[in-house]
């Protein structure tokens, strides 16, 4: 094939200014062309490893000789349609005058940031590496931690235009092997133009994508991701997203932190209870305050009631409207401080805290207790950042109910939520496990956190294979909390009613 014809065949499809064609000749006069996307290829390496060696090629050099010169595992022979795909993915394609064979050279180096600590999962103790937007780096971070031959990384592609790589990660000897197959099928079943983030894939693989409660856990750190794979879950990495997904999801996961496993189990247990209480308080506090003021003053201690009544006396707004307004201001400030540039964000904080807060109180529009309650509620919700989307929405719903029906409405809505959540499940695992259905075995790593010796078997709720994850060999110390083989081999029982 003539060089020009090959170039034309590719450039006819890839009509874009950033697709570069670099034509060069060897000393002997053999013509070559490299086609690549500007910015996606490591040009220095291309010069060193491709152009320089080929400059020595003879006039009659054929495909075999070129292949021999470019001896590298990253070089593969492709046809024209595949070459077009490879160029889009970031490889360079080499065309040789007089040869039909095209070579794809994988010297991809897309722009991206380095591995850094993720902003949402900061740990005082423990590993600090976080996922990046590059799926190859993310896969390498996983492989770095799980050197097991049973680690499987299956890649599927989704997105009609973005052609995004999605890697399904699992330990074949641990997880329920039906889940990866189901995941691949669910991802393939969705045809969308662009997959911008892993949250898209999260919806693809969710049985109830419109639900307020998510069905996939998210994490930004490879150590957490790998720990979840080792428990028997299946992970999903999406190219272009630093947020990995894991399934099956249980609500209790969001109350656990990676640090819980690196600190004393007593402290970890206290922290988990603290997070649970904080979330409940964060959701219910504004609603209960409004309900108490409107319908049941007995809920407030008498002396506190006196303070509150002195604060709210003369306010033009009803307690529910006042709380609604304060919460609205908080949400606006929150939204603005995230979206605004950093420097403006500081000004927004000052305006929000001082001007709006202080002045509104002085002007008698809202009361101090309302501001304190909304502020504390916001802080409480961020104790479990992965749940904020859900909890912040629930806070609004509870507030509206409390303002109209009072405490009974709050209790009824709690009942309704319980009723809904107890039968919800993700990949056959109830999302309220291990509390409902009650799985005593898994309670030791639920809100309670027992020491690592007691967590010798994998969570029963996940119904994976190979239950034992920790076994102390003979002479492994005199730790009485340690398990013996008999204990470790004891099979935990999962949710019996499933």
């Amino acid at each position: 094939m003539q060089l020009n014809k090959g170039i034309e065949a590719i450039k006819d499809v890839l009509v874009s200014a950033d697709v570069i064609t670099y034509e060069f000749s060897s000393a002997a006069g053999k013509k070559f062309a490299l086609i690549y996307v500007d910015g996606l290829v490591e040009k220095a390496q291309l010069g060193e490893l491709v152009v320089k060696p080929l400059a020595k090629a003879g006039k009659e050099a054929g495909a075999a000789e070129v292949r021999a010169i470019l001896a590298s595992p990253e070089v593969k022979e492709v046809d024209i349609p595949s070459a077009i795909k490879e160029i889009s993915y970031g490889s360079a394609v080499l065309l040789t005058d007089g040869c039909d064979e095209l070579f794809s050279i994988g010297l991809t180096k897309p722009p991206g940031r380095a591995v850094a600590e993720p902003p949402t999962q900061i740990a005082v103790k423990g590993p600090r590496e976080g996922f990046t937007e590059d799926i190859k780096i993310n896969c390498a971070l996983v492989r770095k931690r799980l050197k097991s031959p049973d680690l499987r990384l299956d890649t599927v592609r989704t997105g009609k235009r973005s052609d995004t790589a999605v890697t399904i990660c699992y330990l074949a000897d641990v997880c329920n092997n039906e889940i990866p197959k189901k995941l691949a099928a669910q991802i393939a079943a969705n045809e969308i133009d662009v997959v911008a983030d892993s949250s898209y894939v999260g919806r693809f693989v969710s049985s109830r994508p419109r639900s307020l409660f998510k069905r996939c856990a998210t994490c930004e750190k490879p150590d957490i991701f790998c720990a979840k794979l080792a428990e028997g879950r299946v992970g999903i990495l999406v190219d272009g997203s630093p947020i990995a997904l894991t399934v099956p999801y249980m609500l209790v996961e969001d109350f656990q932190s990676s640090e819980d496993y690196f600190i004393s189990s007593y402290r970890a247990t206290i922290l988990r209870f603290l997070r649970a209480v904080a979330v409940v308080v964060g959701i219910l506090l504004p609603a209960v305050y409004v309900a108490a003021q409107l319908f049941k003053l007995q809920l407030i201690p008498f002396k506190l009631l006196l303070n509150i009544s002195s604060s709210v006396s003369g306010l033009p707004l009803s307690p529910s409207i006042e709380m609604f307004l304060t919460l609205f201001v908080l949400e606006v400030l929150n939204e603005a401080s995230i979206r605004m540039p950093k420097y403006v964000g500081l000004a927004i904080s000052i305006v929000g805290a001082l001007v709006l807060g202080e002045t509104a109180v002085n002007a008698g529009i809202i009361s101090t207790p309302a501001i304190i309650i909304v502020a504390f509620s916001a802080i409480c919700l961020y104790v479990v950042p992965d749940l904020v989307e859900t909890t912040a929405t629930l806070r609004w719903i509870f507030l509206i109910i409390a303002g109209s029906i009072g405490t009974f409405g709050i209790i009824l809505f709690i009942c309704l939520l319980m009723c809904y959540l107890v039968t919800e499940q993700a990949y056959g695992v109830p999302i309220l496990a291990p509390f409902s259905p009650l799985i005593p075995h898994d309670m030791s790593d639920g809100l309670l956190k027992r020491d690592m010796f007691s967590l010798s078997t994998r969570p029963a709720a996940l119904k994976g294979k190979n239950k034992v994850r920790f076994r102390r060999k003979a002479g492994g110390g005199d730790n009485k909390g340690g398990n013996d083989d008999k204990q470790a081999a004891k099979e935990p029982r999962g949710g019996e009613d499933d």
Partner: protein, 386 residues
Amino acid sequence: MTDQLCTRQVCFIMAAYTAAGKLLMMPAELSYYCGGDLWLPALIVYVLQVAAVWAVAFACSKTDKTFFALIEGVLGKAASKVLCWLFALFFALAAVLPMFSQKLFVQAIFYDTIPALITFLPFFVFSVYAGAKGLKNAGRVADIALPLMGISLIVLFAMSVGEANVGWLLPVLRTTSASSVFSGARFSLYNFTDGAMMLMLMGRFRYKKGDSLKITLSYALSALVVLLFLVLFYSIFSVLSPDQYFAISKMAIFFSALSIVGRVDLIAVYAVEICMLFALAFYIQLSVTCVCGALGKEQSKGRSASPASAVASVAINAVLLAVLIAFNNSYLVVQEAFGRFLWIVFVLFAFVLPPLVWALKRGMGGGANGKVSGGTGKKAGRPPSG
């Protein structure tokens, strides 16, 4: 067998839901008849109910069929369907007084001033939803409800025990005549549907050796808690007891710390209220299950309620709502009707029918010792609901 529940959940249902409904009005009613001996009529009825629950639980060891499947095996499909309808009506009827009690409780405890009926109406939204969800949902909820109620009752007991004077209850049968005790027992019968509940749970779980004992013991334990509650109640309120409706919300009111920290006992009361609401919804769930069984329809499709179940739940709740509106201010009339006339219905369904399950030996497949197992047995054991 439908296998919707596990043994633990049956135990939890029999412990939590059966006790929750008896903590509101029953203590005041029993003290009206028997004064300090209020625990005696409760004990008599409970002994009968424990026997009924044991009879059904033990029958579960001999067969894995549901009650209606057994009836179908012995008396035919028509009889089974008729019984389905009768039980559906019974559970709807059993929900009436607890619903009125709940309404009064909500109006008294959740609001400073007695609000209009409309504040209670959102209950029916929850009730329609829960009613359509089926028994699996009830079992899962019981997994959370029992610990919640247990902790709350412990807190309330701990707060109130300091004000209790057990001397008020002594000596036993000092002033109460035997006829008063039996009147009290008869009048409280409408609170006891536990034998019938167990009958509905029959064949809905995979029986393992020793399960009948576990179920009976968990029910007996809940009976003990209720009796303890009655004793504590009279020890605190003494002669004022007959006027102390909604005792659960008043027992801890004298706890000294409440004057400093406010009514924190209400948190425990509200937690118990959650269990009470589920206990009330459980009647409707059972009623819907029976209606679906009578119609031969599935109660759920995967995790969602089936249309038949949803329609049945809406219909039952609509009837209950109509009754509530019609008798909104006539609680005492309704109570009188149940206590004086309808108690016989409760005796029939909750006390007489459960032990009669032993008379259905032929339907158990090969006599009392012939436990049905394996594919054909399970198929034959399916309830009319399928």
